[in-house]
Assembly symmetry: C2
Homo-oligomer: 171 residues x 2
DNA sequence: GAAGATTGATCTATCAATCTTA
DNA sequence: TAAGATTGATAGATCAATCTTC
């Protein structure tokens, strides 16, 4: 809970050396995955920046707020959902607040919490730009893979995420 | 060739709306992939930063240079290999040059090219830090997936990359 | 003029320190 | 004092403009 921990958390591989090297085909596959991550983020960032004037994380902050009836979420919850650190989200929300897409309000019941609320204008922005973004995701990811391979990649991704979360937990 | 094009290149989805929405399971899978990309880059960046004082891209710049006998590559080639724009790579190499891990020299045959050369110190840095990095990749990616699923993900990644490159080519 | 590369201005992410409420 | 959140300083990425060599 509360977004990503700091990078100063303990190393995943305390023992360090020596490395068991990867096979040639494993290395090739990992490079493909690594390249995909770089290229795909770049392509999606670009599409959103051009069409909506929003970064990928900004877009998803609006999207995650729109999915609850109250259009409201705690900052820490929103950080977790957008894969951002709390610090990063706080800066980001400050910028979106200046653009009147989100506003902040303290939680009535417990003043330690800050709620981020999607404004009308923020919702309008999201609604206006969601179709083009979804089409891009479909075009670059869903169509080239097909449903079966996409689901398979999703399942594999979940195993990696679980490993990362597990490693950070035990620090 | 020549690293990544600018983000101002034409949109992937000229028609824009309307969007054909994704199924619930497709959305869930895409969110897993998206989250994996964010979490994994973050985890790998963190490991390298803590252990080696290098960013992921800086590490790979050194690694790509080490793989050729001359320890030398053109800037544009290195940009492509590290998935960085030429501008980003140029700034990055400037910083690594200050740390004496890479040096620049103009190509003798054609003065338009700049060659990036791995220094002894740069090679030493890489050799010192490669094992821990490979172990982290193994720990977070290869082991949770297993070789078969890793190769499958690599193949899927290649299809996505081909789609992105194809889309940018026709702009 | 075109390709490769660099530069400078601006914007964003990160880290560490701080602040607030309970 | 602990959890949630914010802030300020620094480092890095991006874009547009420029520079160099052919």
């Amino acid at each position: 809970m509360g977004g990503m921990p700091h990078r100063t958390s303990k190393s995943t591989n305390p023992g360090g050396e020596p490395a068991r090297w990867l096979s040639a085909e494993e290395v090739a596959a990992w490079r493909s995955v690594s390249r995909m991550m770089a290229r795909l983020s770049w392509a999606l960032e670009g599409q959103l920046q051009r069409d909506a004037g929003l970064s990928f994380t900004e877009y998803h902050a609006l999207a995650m707020l729109s999915e609850v009836p109250t259009h409201t979420r705690r900052m820490s919850e929103l950080a977790e959902l957008t894969n951002a650190s709390l610090s990063r989200l706080s800066h980001l929300v400050t910028r979106l607040e200046r653009r009147n897409l989100i506003r902040r309000e303290p939680d009535r019941d417990d003043g330690r919490y800050t709620n981020a609320v999607l404004t009308e204008e923020g919702l309008a922005q999201l609604v206006a730009n969601a179709p083009a973004h979804v089409n891009t995701v479909r075009d670059l990811v869903v169509d080239p893979l097909g449903t079966d391979d996409l689901l398979q990649m999703g399942a594999a991704a979940d195993r990696i995420i679980a490993r990362i979360d597990g490693a950070n937990q035990s620090s």
